[in-house]
């Protein structure tokens, strides 16, 4: 087992708070203040994003499980609770940010607990009094369910008190490390409330306050979590009183000052909706409020930076000033970027809420997003004011602007409705920004600017000052960081964010524990996808299902991509996450179609499985695709599971597919780690592999390639790491050395023909590379011979399968090759290419989806090309298998180019699963490679890879990527993922269950055609010959046990039976020749063109020149034929007994 230097296998911290520092002891790692700032801002944004997404999930779940009136009551209760809790905090959270670093170590816990208690009590009092006043004085009878009786009132008071405490603690934890604890708490709270809500819903609980109770439980669980995570070790044991009001002595004025400033900052966005309601209309306010909520994500960044500036400064104005030089330009660029992103996407974003929102809110959203720019200036001004103790002055200045802002907004509303209101407000904000910027400039000029120094410098200077000795930031929890604190003195870290700096100069850093939170976020992603699938089934219109589906995908992949790339993630966490992502994505198929197989290839293989189980023998004839019966490896494994355990076939298939996914992930991990010597590169490669366009659907369906591909990668790995027994080894050592690789190879051979062929070619190519590179040495020649031997074994195995009587491999592959060659020839001869963004029914991807596809393909192609270019030196430096993978990566262009014709698109899509094994390896290496800073072999400065390196040369494997780069790369991964999924599986709307579509695989599998298949299963003998359209034929074979007549299995094209409106002698002849017993007609086929090219199969009647849907007369013509019985009718499908035409009845 190898150990590599780049993998942070940090000693576990003494306490659970590890990377975030111990309990209220301040940062434990020697990060610079800028690093802390970035970390805090990142976590604040993460919190914002997580709570937004999880909030959406929560409310979506609520609307699914509870009555609308209950959701309305809960919404009102939560809104009122948020307002009262915010008032109840009294600014104590902000005070704690400023005060905690200056508070003696032993008194911090008491200060925090007292602040929480005060905020909780004040909020509880408000929660009791305000609703009573509103109900009994103001006459707000609608609030009676919230606080009209003792039980709900007590619950509401408790929830509000807890929320106030949570708000305070969220700010207080920002002084601990980089605020990761705040993110954790919010994820914990949000996830818990989702689970509790789901549980309460399942238990049949009802009422709005039940929803509120779920919310409260989430908050309740998260608070002890923070206490536990920040508990500190024995050294920080706290024998003092739980709460001591004296701890807040002298803080009241400061707290109220911060509170006033906070309220002033929030005021405009709270008052503007009232203006819209009163000056425009309540309907317009509905749209405006929604837009404000959407823009909250854009405004969150400057706000997060503002708070982070304040929290990371530890009360030092100079630090704020120094950091502002970088944060202002950064925040401005991001705000402008957000504006540029929102401008084209405004309609899509708003369509989530309904078409009327999209129609009325587009311009408002675009205008309001512009406010992000002046907010950058304003929030920096506020941060500077807080740090310099000028909160009162800032409050007065901003409060002075407030009436001007509102006046301009009101004038604008009167002149131009909501658009005018926003425009008027924006103009004042712009003026305000200019004036505040000038004020800040004066302040900055009056202050000496410090070079950004790392925390240890700060520590040194602070501890040297008698008045602040108690700060003792150097009292960290681990010996390692304490050492770092004392030894790393005043090294300037102007390039602190440049993590490419040599590791030798960096201080040891503890690992960031990300596994748990990321797993929870991943699980929430799965839940989001499940809700999306359910919404699709319920035929919910609008963008909500697609948005949830998309959000789920992003939640599963992007946080993991970041965690795996980030430098401070431990090796264990990386490996677990790199395996968890593929498994979760595999589970996403289950939540999409949890009860049965639904896709074309799945139904073909479900037929093989059914035949195997019913006949207890292999190699049965599968009329849907005869070749599948001769490669039943996957079905055998599934049959073993279902036979032994009694699980259903579908569940057993899920087990097998999960096992295959696990094998693939582990094989990629092991292979890449073996090649590069870095588990970090390996984990990144495993995550990058999910960007394969076919990963989410084609490569995860119940199909032989899904099973064989992992086994093929595994075979390559096992061949690579097999034992090479030395001369004189024990007798059976050579046999044992090859047994496992041969067993894996054998599994590939009996599972999938094309994968076997490609594996044979890969092994042969590997042998050739080995011979060319190391042919001079006897060991090299021996290895080349061994590799050629494995390839030859594959050839023998494949030949053995072809020798099984009835195997049609030659004709099957020949037909595909012929068809592909013909279409490519047509294309080069000037024929029309396949429409790139539309299917055969004319359904196109949305414009934004087309953009995402192009971006995704371009990014993958460009990055792969750059990586391969950089990897050209591998020829002389790497092991042969690394070169083999680089060669495999060269196959990637086949996938996008294949989409130029229909026949080659299928071939190209199948190639993606293979080429991406190489792509992910080369790109992961390229992303994380680091220029040599040790005595590595130079030229391009890339250090030698893994085990192939020569320790004697002093080469050292080293890979790296900084935290910010990791974050940005994860963002790009998310973007590519979305485009890739659309590229591979078509428009997002079509990926979800929904209304029936004609000949559209899973979208055509519905209760109607499944009911027909079930009827045949119950009423006709196994093997009865049936003719049906594409999906009907698949279902009746897989679920009905019939022999579906197809050209590929009978060489008879009987499609005119369903597609020709006239009944002729040819129909009778076909029925007799193909010995058809029953014909199934789906009358819905007349409603549109087929989405998957054909109604029945390639070459069908009228297929070439089809422009219009099949006539209904063709699907009902058997009604009037003498001797034909219509024996089944379910409204959509009819089953005709045509045996009378054969004289068999």
């Amino acid at each position: 087992m190898s150990t590599t230097s780049d993998d942070v296998e940090a000693p576990a911290p003494a306490t659970a708070d590890d990377a975030d520092g111990s309990a209220w002891s301040g940062p434990s790692t020697p990060a610079s203040s800028m690093q802390r700032l970035v970390g805090i801002a990142r976590n604040l944004m993460g919190t914002q994003a997580a709570t937004a997404v999880l909030g959406l999930l929560f409310w979506t779940l609520a609307t699914r499980q509870f009555l609308t009136s209950s959701v309305g009551i809960a919404g009102a209760a939560v809104s009122l609770m948020s307002l009262l809790a915010s008032l109840g905090t009294l600014g104590l959270g902000t005070v704690l940010i400023a005060r905690l670093p200056l508070t003696p170590q032993g008194e911090r816990r008491v200060l925090v607990r007292t602040s929480l208690a005060v905020a909780g009590v004040v909020a509880a009092v408000l929660a009791v009094v305000v609703p009573l006043v509103l109900i009994h004085v103001v006459g707000a009878a609608n609030l009676r369910p919230v606080a009209g009786s003792l039980g709900p009132a007590a619950l509401f008071a408790l929830g509000t008190a807890l929320m106030a405490a949570a708000m305070v603690i969220d700010q207080a934890v920002l002084v601990v490390g980089t605020g990761g604890l705040q993110l954790e708490r919010n994820i914990m709270a949000s996830a818990t409330k989702v689970v509790v809500l789901a549980g309460l819903g399942l238990l049949g609980a009802g009422g709005g306050m039940t929803i509120f109770a779920a919310w409260t439980v989430g908050t309740l669980v998260s608070l002890p979590w923070v206490a536990w995570r920040s508990r500190g070790g024995r050294a920080l044991a706290d024998p003092g009183p739980l709460v001591d009001p004296r701890a807040l002595r002298g803080l009241a004025r400061t707290a109220l000052s911060h509170h006033a400033l906070n309220t002033t900052l929030q005021a405009p966005l709270l008052i503007l909706p009232l203006l819209v309601t009163s000056l425009v209309s309540a309907e317009a306010n509905g749209v405006f409020t929604t837009v404000v909520q959407l823009t909250a994500l854009v405004f969150a960044l400057p706000f997060a930076i503002s708070i982070s500036l304040f929290a990371a400064a530890d009360g030092r104005v100079e630090t704020v000033v120094a950091n502002m030089r970088r944060t202002i330009p950064f925040a401005l660029v991001v705000s402008l970027g957000a504006y540029l992103a929102v401008f084209p996407l405004a309609r899509l974003l708003l369509s989530v809420f309904g078409p009327e929102y999209a129609d009325q809110g587009v311009e408002v959203l675009r205008l309001l997003t512009l406010a992000g720019v002046p907010f950058v200036v304003r929030d920096h001004y506020v941060a500077l004011a807080r740090a310099s103790g000028r909160t009162t002055r800032a409050t007065l200045v901003l409060a002075g602007f407030l009436p001007v802002e509102l006046g301009a907004a009101a004038y604008g509303a009167l002149r131009g409705g909501t658009d005018g209101l926003v425009l008027g407000w924006l103009l004042v904000l712009a003026v305000q920004a200019v004036l505040l910027a000038a004020s800040m400039r004066r302040t900055v000029k009056s202050r000496p600017v410090l070079a950004d120094t790392d925390t240890t410098t700060t520590t040194a200077s602070i501890t040297a000052t008698p008045t602040t000795q108690e700060i003792a930031l150097s009292t960290t929890t681990t010996a390692a960081t304490t050492t770092a604190t004392t030894t790393t003195t005043t090294t300037p870290t102007a390039a602190a964010l440049d993590d490419s700096a040599p590791a030798t100069t960096a201080a040891p850093r503890t690992a960031r524990p990300v596994l748990g939170p990321v797993l929870v976020v991943m699980a929430l992603g799965l839940l989001s996808m499940a809700i999306a699938a359910r919404a699709g089934r319920e035929q919910l219109t609008g963008a909500l299902p697609i948005s949830l589906w998309l959000a789920g995908l992003v939640l599963i992949v992007v946080p993991t991509a970041w965690a795996v790339l980030a430098p401070r993630t431990s090796r264990r966490d990386r490996l677990v996450l790199a395996v968890a992502v593929p498994l979760t994505l595999q589970l996403s198929r289950f939540v999409l179609h949890p009860l049965s197989f639904a896709f074309h290839d799945e139904l073909i293989h479900a037929t093989v499985l059914r035949q195997l189980l019913e006949r207890g023998a292999l190699f049965s004839e599968n009329s849907l695709l005869p070749i599948t019966g001769y490669y039943p490896g996957m079905e055998v494994a599934t049959a073993a599971v279902t036979t032994l355990t009694g699980l259903s076939q579908h569940t057993a298939a899920l087990v097998v597919l999960l096992a295959a996914r696990l094998v693939l992930s582990l094989a990629i991990l092991a292979l890449v780690e073996r090649i590069t010597g870095s588990s970090r590169v390996a984990a990144v490669a495993s995550v990058l592999y999910v960007l394969n366009p076919q990963y989410l659907f084609f490569n995860s369906q119940y199909s032989y390639q899904t099973f064989a591909l992992p086994m093929a990668v595994l075979t390559v790995y096992l061949v690579l790491v097999r034992d090479r027994p030395a001369a004189g080894s024990e007798r059976w050592a050579p046999v044992r050395a090859v047994a496992l690789p041969l067993a894996a190879l054998g599994t590939v051979v009996v599972s999938h023909h094309v994968t076997t062929g490609l594996l044979i070619v890969a092994l042969a190519a590997w042998a050739l590379v080995q011979r060319l590179r190391d042919g001079a040495s006897p060991a090299g020649r021996r290895e080349a011979r061994a590799l050629a031997g494995f390839s030859a074994a594959g050839v023998l195995g494949l030949a053995a399968t072809v020798a099984v009587p009835g195997n049609t491999l030659g004709s099957y592959l020949g037909a595909i090759g012929e068809s592909s060659a013909q279409q490519v020839d047509t294309l080069f001869g000037g024929g029309a290419a396949k429409p790139l963004f539309a299917n055969s029914a004319g359904i196109s991807s949305a414009p934004w989806e087309q953009v995402m596809i192009v971006v995704s393909v371009l990014v993958i192609t460009a990055v792969t090309a750059l990586a391969l270019l950089r990897a050209r030196t591998w020829w002389t430096r790497r092991t042969s298998v690394a070169i083999l993978l680089a060669l495999v990566a060269l196959l990637w262009p086949l996938t996008p180019l294949g989409h130029l014709t229909r026949a080659t698109s299928e071939v190209g899509d199948r190639a993606a699963g293979f080429s991406f094994v190489g792509v992910c390896d080369v790109v992961a290496w390229w992303l994380l490679r680091r220029r040599a800073h040790a005595a590595g072999p130079a030229e391009d400065g890339v250090v030698e890879l893994g085990p192939a390196s020569d320790p004697a040369a002093g080469a050292r494997t080293s890979f790296g990527m900084g935290g910010v780069a990791a974050l940005l790369t994860a963002g790009v991964v998310g973007m590519v993922l979305v485009g890739s999924v659309i590229f591979g599986a078509g428009p997002l709307a079509g990926q979800l269950p929904g209304p029936f579509r004609v000949s559209a695989d899973a979208r055509s599998v519905d209760p109607y055609n499944r009911a027909a298949a079930a009827w045949l299963d119950d009423n006709v003998p196994e093997g009865t010959r049936v003719y049906a359209d594409r999906v009907g034929g698949l279902l009746t074979a897989a679920e009905g046990g019939t022999y579906t007549v197809r050209h590929i299995s009978t060489s008879i094209d009987a499609s005119r039976l369903l597609l020709d409106p006239d009944f002729t002698d040819q129909d009778v002849a076909l029925i007799r020749r193909a010995r058809i017993d029953y014909v199934i007609a789906d009358r819905r086929d007349a409603n549109g063109l087929p989405n998957q090219d054909v109604y029945v199969e390639n070459g069908e009647f009228g297929g070439e020149e089809r422009r219009d849907p099949v006539p209904l007369a063709a699907l009902t013509k058997l009604d009037g034929v003498e001797g034909v019985d219509r024996v089944y009718d379910n409204g959509a499908l009819a089953v005709y007994d045509v045996r009378g035409l054969r004289g068999d009845r």
Partner: protein, 272 residues
């Protein structure tokens, strides 16, 4: 090396694990042969697979740790290798057993399959069991022979367990949402079908989800021009059958109506 470590930890008892694993596999085979409940068979085979897998993983780890027995290869195997090899053995065993049974001319049914896989599993357990040797010290005493006790590290087990539990709860919630949604949407349509076709009568079956009806069955073109039969209802989704009279020859159309409505919901045609 976390995953590899996990592989090692799966064999805490060495020989005891071998014996327990063998008993579990035998029990799983017995439960399958006796057609025991699904949960019992699933749990038993899962435990058996874990025992075999962990035994293989631990054995691979021990061999790699000894290293000197091989000239090349074992060194520098990644940490996930033992887990991967264990998984390989399980998958290969499942697939190979089917082909072996086929080659032996034995039907692939639960009896033979259970026996073959249990025997193979027990054989693997025996072959891969830890053996005492002077160099190894007590069997199953440590993760790597001669490596000595690993330095004890504190790990945030409780934290990870809490997060993982929450994640599992969310995954379960996802499944519940998905399955419920699919079941709700998977309501079978109203159907009319011919089942038992006799010389003078035919049974037509009316199917519908849940409780449905009353429906009216009529025939057209039969003995009289139109004939109506007593109303039928569907209870609890159970199909309801009605016997309809047929003429000796000619075409009869049997239609299903909502009670009192002229427009048929469904129809079948019998042409004799």
């Amino acid at each position: 090396m976390a995953i590899a470590d996990a592989g090692h930890r799966l064999v805490p008892g060495g020989r005891t694990t071998t014996r327990v694993g063998a008993v579990v596999l035998a029990g799983a085979a017995a439960a399958t042969l006796a057609d025991g409940p699904v949960w019992l068979r699933t749990a038993a085979w899962l435990l058996g697979a874990l025992a075999v897998g962990s035994s293989v993983a631990a054995s691979r780890g021990r061999r790699d740790a000894r290293g000197g027995r091989t000239a090349q290869g074992a060194a520098d195997r990644p940490g996930v290798d033992p887990l991967l090899v264990a998984l390989t053995v399980l998958v290969v065993a499942a697939v190979a057993s089917g082909f072996v049974l086929e080659a032996a001319g034995v039907r692939l049914s639960q009896g033979p399959w259970a026996v073959v896989l249990a025997v193979v599993g027990i054989a693997v357990l025996v072959i891969e069991r830890p053996r005492r040797s002077a160099a190894d010290g007590p069997a199953g005493a440590g993760p790597a022979d001669g490596a000595g006790p690993a330095p004890r590290r504190r790990s945030p087990v409780a934290t990870t367990a809490a997060w993982s539990s929450l994640a599992v709860a969310l995954v379960v919630a996802s499944f519940v949402v998905a399955v419920d949604g699919a079941r709700d949407a998977d309501l079978p349509p109203v159907t009319l079908a011919v089942t038992d076709l006799g010389p003078t009568t035919v049974d037509v079956v009316v199917g519908a989800p849940g409780d449905a009806g009353p429906y009216e069955v009529r025939t057209d073109g039969g003995i009289d021009s139109t004939l109506s039969y007593p109303p039928v209802t569907v209870t609890g989704g159970e199909p309801t059958s009605t016997t309809v009279l047929l003429p000796p020859e000619g075409k009869v159309i049997v239609t299903l109506h909502n009670l009192g409505q002229a427009e048929p919901l469904r129809s079948v045609v019998i042409d004799r």
